[in-house]
């Protein structure tokens, strides 16, 4: 946030860097230093495990293969959305359009298949159409200096409106569409009775997306540039990093993730699509990313943290369904409270760091 005024300001800490890193790598202090940056994520992980154990003790049948498969299956679309959102947030942007793009993409895809388009081409079309929204938002942000909030708000309105223009009814994919294959349950572990551990192709897609994003962010130049843009755009520019190209790509990836999430979600609801799908999903995705330890100011965050964030929200939902006495309407309040605790925690840690 405190942008350096001159190059000299930016360059000053450089001589200390190698030495500092060396000691960090070897000593306990270094481990603690890194752990502190990971602390919010670690606390989220602890919370996740705590919630699972609590649910097991209080309601039982939680650490059962069947429950776990349902948990993962339910989380798959949100996992994919959260990956895209993580990239955008690390680059100090925000993408409000993901929920609406999911709605448009699923309605458009299912209708195209209904018109006789080949199923797999339809799936491809869903992803491409969603990416176009991202491309449009990225170009507005990068080349027309529109704030990400406003650019993606426009895309949110556009996608939601177009989806509603296509249809306001429930549309169903024709017999034999890829959605049927995508929702098949592969039995990995044959438990007693119906208590099997199963995965759907949707869950595998989500896992691949997560792994791909981890590789992209940590092992490619483009991925490191994402962090660079979020940390300080001017510095990234001055270092000769391809800021413009990367930023547009970030929004395209986020759009493509929305399209993929639409595919996985539509498959999980047996190929039916509605124009009101995904209302408020963007906020869930943002909440998951923040709980997972990414900073909304950009420059810091982990995809794996966001995965934990998504699972925290999903287990919260599980507990509320299992409990039965908690009104589902309180879910938003509880989500909000969890979110508040985590941002307060981040704030506390950030304050501590700046005081040292």
């Amino acid at each position: 946030m405190n942008a350096p005024n001159t190059l000299v300001d930016e360059a000053r800490p450089a001589p200390d860097l190698p030495r500092a890193q060396e000691s960090h790598a070897s000593s306990v202090a270094g481990w603690w230093h890194r752990a502190q940056r990971l602390l919010p994520t670690l606390i989220a992980l602890a919370l996740l495990l705590g919630m699972l154990i609590y649910a097991e003790v209080a309601y039982g049948r939680v650490f059962h293969p069947g429950t776990m498969s349902d948990l993962l299956g339910g989380a798959a679309p949100m996992l994919i959305l959260a990956v895209g959102m993580t990239l955008v947030i690390i680059s100090a942007g925000i993408d409000l359009s993901v929920g609406a793009v999911v709605a448009f993409s699923s309605v458009a895809g299912v209708m195209l298949m209904g018109q006789g388009l080949n199923g797999w081409l339809g799936v491809l079309a869903m992803i491409v159409l969603a990416s176009l929204f991202g491309l449009f938002a990225g170009v507005m942000v990068q080349y027309f200096n529109v704030q990400p909030f406003i650019a993606t708000l426009a895309m949110m309105f556009l996608a939601r409106g177009l989806a509603s223009m296509l249809t306001t009814d429930v549309v169903r994919a024709p017999e034999g569409s890829p959605f049927e294959w995508l929702s098949t349950r592969w039995k990995l572990y044959d438990g007693p009775k119906v208590n099997d551990f199963t995965v759907t192709p949707g869950v595998l897609i989500a896992l691949l997306v997560v792994l791909g994003a981890v590789f992209f962010l940590h092992r490619t130049r483009m991925g490191r540039t994402v962090y660079g843009i979020g940390g300080s755009e001017n510095s990234a520019e001055l270092m000769g990093l391809p800021v413009a190209r990367t930023r547009v790509l970030i929004y395209v990836i986020s759009g493509a993730c929305s399209g993929l999430a639409a595919v996985v979600y539509t498959a999980s609801v047996q190929g039916s699509a509605r124009n009101v799908t995904g209302l408020g999903w963007e906020l869930d995705a943002i909440a998951a990313v923040v709980i997972g330890g990414s900073l909304l100011t950009g420059g810091a965050g982990y995809v794996l943290g966001s995965v934990i964030g998504v699972l925290v929200l999903q287990v919260l939902r599980l507990i509320i369904t299992k409990d039965g006495s908690i009104d589902p309407q309180y879910l938003t309040i509880i989500t909000g409270a969890v979110l508040l605790v985590f941002v307060l925690l981040q704030r506390l840690l950030a304050k501590k760091r700046s005081e040292r």
Binding site: A3, I94, A100, M140, Q142, Y143, F144, N145, V146, Q147, F149, I150, A151, L153, A154, M155, M156, F157, L158, R160, G161, L162, S164, M165, T168, E233, N234, E237, L238, V243, A244, N275, V276, L283, I286, A287, V290, L296, T297, D327, Q329, Y330, T332, I333, T335, G336, A337, L339, L340, V343, L344, R347, K351
Partner: protein
């Protein structure tokens, strides 16, 4: 000539143009669209224009509240939920009192709603100004929490009540103009006087430009920020009451849903920059009127109302592109190549986006 140019460059002028275009489209479709008639049985004026004014009242309220929050470089995502809180508290109070003609009951309902809104808004303000959380995430939490509070207040049910004075807020008329619109205008004028006749507006803008510098200049940002968020919440609660008074029933899940986006849109149309530092109350009011007109036009043209967002998206895209430096350079450079402003713009354009997207756009504009 310069005055004309200055007016042309203000955003609220383009909002008026937008409203005129929409009304023109409607008149082409139905030549009697603009006509105002008198309903002989109720003795009330009727007409599409009056309808637009009536539905614009809540949007004006939340847009004006949002204006000040955005001027401090913040954002308030909770206004839609705050509308639900305001409506829920008012309806619940009225149905508990069950006194269908009493003005005192109405005042009590309004008072309670405003009181709760002040508290919730102040919580937003404290979290932003004292704890130092980001406005986006703070008000996102409040958006979830306030929606929950509205559900708790009504027990999750749609609640209706009967109270004639309260019903007249949206359904009554003063000299033929809907009461809610008249009240909204009075509130806007009062707020504008408060902001522009005292230093408060200037202080809000200075916090939006540079909080540290304004602190060094002797402005205490905390009370001002808290007041700004509280004001936004109060105006949102009033908007919620206008909204529920139309049908005298509140749905805690859908009242005010996504209205925060309309408010932000109205503010952006009105020319208030999301980067903070300046605001235009007149602009936001015009922006709100444009959105109300747009909502009504889309329905009038027979497009399903669920598709309205697509038209809003077009309005945003056109407006933000018109406001962007790149398009402005293209449009204005040719007209006055010799002016110093143009050379500066060209100079900035020669360095590819290094300074353009920098951290201080306000400095670059002035």
């Amino acid at each position: 000539m310069n005055r004309v140019k200055a007016v042309l460059r203000t955003s609220w002028f383009w909002a008026i143009v937008g409203i005129a275009v929409l009304l023109l489209i409607n008149t082409v479709k139905d030549p009697r669209y603009l006509s105002v008639g008198l309903n002989p049985t109720t003795g009330m004026m009727t007409g599409n224009i009056l309808d637009i004014l009536r539905v614009s009242a809540p949007i004006i309220m939340i847009a004006v509240g949002m204006t000040f929050v955005i001027a401090t470089e913040g954002i308030d995502l909770s206004v839609g939920s705050m509308m639900a809180v305001g409506g829920a508290v008012a309806m619940q109070t009225l149905s508990n009192l069950s006194d269908p003609t009493s003005v005192a009951a109405m005042l009590q309902a309004i008072g309670l709603a405003v009181l709760l809104a002040v508290v919730l808004g102040a919580v937003n303000g404290v979290l932003v100004a004292v704890v130092g959380l980001q406005p986006f995430i703070t008000t996102l939490v409040m958006m979830m929490a306030a929606r929950g509070i509205a559900r708790v207040v009504t027990g999750g049910q749609n609640t209706n009540a009967r109270n004639e004075p309260f019903r007249l807020l949206a359904n009554g008329q003063i000299l033929g103009i809907p009461t809610s619109f008249v009240l909204a205008l009075i509130i806007v004028v009062l707020v504008a006087l408060l902001m522009r006749r005292t230093a408060l507006g200037l202080m809000i803008e200075s916090i939006g430009i540079n909080p540290r510098a304004s602190r060094l200049a002797g402005i205490r940002p905390r009370p001002i920020l808290i007041a700004v968020y509280a004001l936004a919440a109060v105006l949102a609660a009033i908007a919620g009451m206008f909204n529920v008074s139309e049908v005298m029933t509140v749905n805690p899940s859908s009242t005010g849903n996504l209205m925060e986006m309309d408010a932000i849109l109205a503010v952006v149309i009105g020319g208030t920059s999301l980067a903070g530092g300046k605001f235009s109350i007149l602009g936001s009011t015009m922006g709100a009127l444009l959105i109300a007109t747009l909502n009504k036009t889309v329905v009038f043209l027979g497009v399903p109302s669920a598709a309205t967002p697509a038209f809003k998206a077009l309005v945003i895209i056109v407006l933000v592109l018109l406001q962007s430096e790149r398009i402005r350079n293209l449009l204005f450079r040719k007209k006055s190549p010799g002016s110093p402003g143009a050379t500066v713009a060209q100079g900035a354009g020669a360095v590819p986006s290094a300074g353009e997207a920098g951290s201080e756009p306000k400095g670059a504009v002035s």
